[in-house]
């Protein structure tokens, strides 16, 4: 009964929303909005070939700062939600009880892992030139680590290192932004203060590339940390604080 009602409700919602969207025909270029400005300024002023990147990192860089924060937040929140007094000090390392993967998988993982990392790095370094960017690259790097985590029971990630990477990458972003307050023409937060370079050059786009690299590192580290937390923490004994 409940299901029927809910399906009915969903039907009503679908009807109204679809009828709303139907007035925005697919593929129609209806609006004269900010996008034309972006399409114009990105290659000409910023010298960034990938307009999405220039929007993400420059025009709407503040959003991206928020985005990075969300990821950071998620990993912190995850840590705080799943935190338990792990016996770091007593020398006992956390354990994963998942069975060891077969040798085939292990070897394959070992072979693929460096290439995955490299691909990820390539993607975020070329974020302003080709599709992709810091987030995508970071995610790919994290999948490399996920592969290793799944394949090897004894593959442990050094959380200290992750913390350092996260902290440095994150603060690079903010500090680059703050430097804009001092050095850039309009003294704006996150404003580009480096020479823009030449379109379709690796070293173009001013701070955009640098920020994307930082984002890549940060995202990679954070997603890896999240995966590690979710995978590892489960198997330790019950915390005395609980229940």
């Amino acid at each position: 009964m409940k299901k029927v009602i809910i399906i009915g409700f969903l039907g009503v919602i679908a009807y109204y929303l679809l009828s709303a969207f139907a007035s925005v025909p697919f593929g129609a270029d209806l609006i004269k909005g900010v996008k034309d400005f972006y399409l114009d300024k990105s290659p000409n002023d910023l010298k960034v070939a990938n307009v999405v990147t220039s929007i993400v990192v420059n025009f709407r860089g503040f959003d991206t700062l928020g985005e990075v924060t969300v990821l950071f937040l998620a990993s912190t929140a995850l840590g705080s939600i799943l935190y338990r007094r792990r016996s770091h000090d007593s020398g006992l390392n956390p354990q994963r009880t998942a069975p060891e993967a077969s040798a085939l998988v292990q070897t394959g993982a070992k072979v693929i892992f460096p290439f995955t990392i490299m691909l990820g790095a390539y993607i975020f370094i070329h974020g302003h030139l080709t599709p992709g960017g810091g987030f995508q690259g970071g995610a790919i790097i994290a999948t490399g680590f996920l592969l290793m985590l799944v394949s090897y029971r004894k593959f442990f990630i050094e959380h200290n290192a992750l913390t350092w990477i996260e902290a440095i990458a994150g603060s690079t972003f903010v500090i680059l932004g703050l430097l804009g307050l001092v050095y850039a023409n309009n003294h704006n937060f996150l404003e580009n203060f480096l020479p823009a370079g030449k379109l379709n050059d690796l070293l173009s786009g001013g701070i955009i590339g640098i920020i994307y690299v930082a984002v890549g590192f940060k995202v990679g580290a954070e997603i890896t940390g999240i995966l590690d937390t979710l995978l590892t923490v489960k198997e330790t004994g019950l915390d005395p604080e609980e229940n």
């Binding site: 900010v34 972006y38 860089g61 700062l65 937040l73 912190t76 939600i81 338990r84």
Partner: protein, 496 residues
């Protein structure tokens, strides 16, 4: 302008949050001290900026060097500045209070302060931003940090509360995103001022659907009636200071967003009637539920919802008097509810059940905390000479000015219910014999300091409300004058 720039409100907490783990590696106590310094600094700059604000000339900050319709901008106006100042002030007090609230260990307090800082930064971002999608991002930052903080304590039902919060919160973000998408496709821009200009040309049917989606999405954040099931759970399970910051920041940014969207960005006929009805329903259901609560924090949470309903009603009049009253109520709610939650943090510190009846005779054994709770209760039900009274009086005057006598009667009848449940608690605190063997946790000096400051504000504003009415009037004018907001954000735009 380099020192007092609104961008610091967001950049500094974020930077500190990113770097906090490193500080912890240098010297452990730094993880508690550094956030305090940051909060103190942003509180200072918010007061500095707000007090030096030239009327009619909000500080509009463009980010990344692009002027408003293209880049994201921050608007520190009389209205948003007021809310930001309130938030930073409370953030600092919450930090003072929670500096050694419960000894939760190094790793946990690192996470606690990180999450708290991001909650503050998120709420400020929601209030300051002039870009609708950016607002969504900050709403999400606020929401995710709230999930984390709600589930902070283990051993309670905090995870359950957080999950409900998350479930509803995701729906909220979905609907906000849908609304933003529809809006973008109609006007081609995300800047709130430019949307406000172009919104007139949107097809009214489309506009009403966008308004509905915003109403749902932002209503969830603002604790509107059928969508506030998460509130009592989250408030009651979160740590005491966090519940205070929920009331002071999360709810405030939610209602700010709601008000900003419907007053400035999107003008829809009939939305205010809807807001009025939903506000009244919110009040009724919340206060009635609060009446029958047996747990202190849950009671406070329901009461908080009721207050939010009252604020919605005040804003729904769409008159200057209504906005003024709404702002006054926002101020009161932030200050008084924070005090109540902070006091209840120590009242229910050790009892596991957090029941009201466990509090018999606490007035004797925890005199200061009980006094603060009593003061807060007196203030929140609107007894003079505390600040709650002026808010309520202004609210009722505004209601009468809108000729809604029926609403006055309703609000006042519900207020009687409010009186009953608060005075039940006071009666138990002060006029009952205490149970044997109660475990008492005396408030620490910093908690006493934080609560005292709030109490002083309550009494000060109660005796002399003109301390803030000037600022409230200015904020009212700013919110009511949509044209000047647009003009200030987009100076080069010719209005037609």
């Amino acid at each position: 302008m380099v020192i007092s720039d609104p961008v610091y409100f967001i950049a500094l907490p974020l930077l500190t949050a990113f770097l906090l783990p490193l500080f912890g590696k240098i010297y452990k106590p730094l993880i508690g001290i550094i956030p305090g310094l940051v909060f103190a600094f942003i509180a200072y700059i918010s007061f500095d900026l707000y007090l030096n604000l030239v009327p009619g000339k909000p500080i509009v900050i463009q980010l990344a060097g692009w002027a408003p319709p293209w880049g994201i901008n921050l608007v520190f106006s009389e209205f948003s500045g007021f809310v930001v100042t309130l938030i930073t002030f409370l953030a600092f007090l919450v930090w003072v209070y929670s500096y050694n609230f419960k000894k939760v260990g190094f790793d946990n307090s690192k996470k606690y302060f990180t999450l708290l800082m991001l909650l503050v930064a998120g709420s400020i971002g929601v209030v300051l931003t002039g870009d609708i999608f950016n607002m969504f991002v900050f709403l999400e930052i606020t929401a995710i940090s709230s999930y984390g903080l709600t589930a902070f304590y283990k051993g309670r039902d905090s995870a359950e509360a957080a999950f409900k919060f998350l479930l509803i919160g995701s729906l909220s973000s979905t609907f906000i995103l849908l609304a933003i998408l529809l809006l973008y496709k109609q006007v081609g821009t995300l800047n709130m001022a430019e949307i406000a200009v172009k919104a007139q040309s949107i097809d009214p049917k489309m506009k009403s659907i966008i308004a509905i989606l915003f109403m749902i999405g932002l209503g969830i954040e603002a604790e509107m009636f059928p969508m506030n099931g998460w509130v009592p759970d989250a408030y009651s399970q979160a740590p005491g200071p966090v519940a205070a910051s929920f009331a002071g920041m999360l709810a405030k940014s939610g209602i700010y967003a709601l008000v900003r969207v419907f007053y400035t960005v999107l003008e829809v006929d009939g939305i205010f009637d809807l807001l009025l009805i939903m506000g009244i329903l919110t009040i009724i259901f919340a206060e009635f539920s609060a009446m029958r609560q047996t747990r202190l924090r849950r009671m406070l949470a329901y009461s908080s919802i009721g207050q939010m309903g009252l604020i919605m009603v005040a804003f729904s009049f769409n008159t200057k008097a209504g906005i003024f009253a709404g702002l006054f109520l926002m101020f009161n709610h932030a200050i008084i509810k924070s005090l109540l939650f902070l006091a209840s943090g120590f009242l229910t510190y050790s009892t596991k059940q957090k029941k009201i009846r466990d509090l018999d005779g606490f007035g004797k054994i925890m005199p200061f905390t009980s006094l603060m709770f009593g003061l807060g209760a007196f203030a929140i039900v609107g007894l003079p000479p505390f600040s709650g009274f002026w808010g309520k009086l202004n609210m009722l005057v505004a209601t009468a000015d809108s000729n809604l006598y029926f609403v006055i009667a309703l609000i006042l009848l519900v207020a009687v219910v409010e009186v009953v449940y608060y005075f039940k608690v006071i009666g138990r605190l002060y006029f009952r014999q205490q149970h044997k063997e109660v475990e008492v946790h005396k408030p620490t000096w910093n908690a006493i300091a934080a609560m005292s400051v709030l109490a002083i504000v309550i009494i000060g504003v109660g005796i002399y409300p003109d301390l803030i009415t000037d600022y409230l009037t200015k904020a009212t004018n700013e919110l009511f004058d949509k044209a000047s907001y647009i003009h200030n954000v987009l100076p080069n735009l010719s209005l037609n």
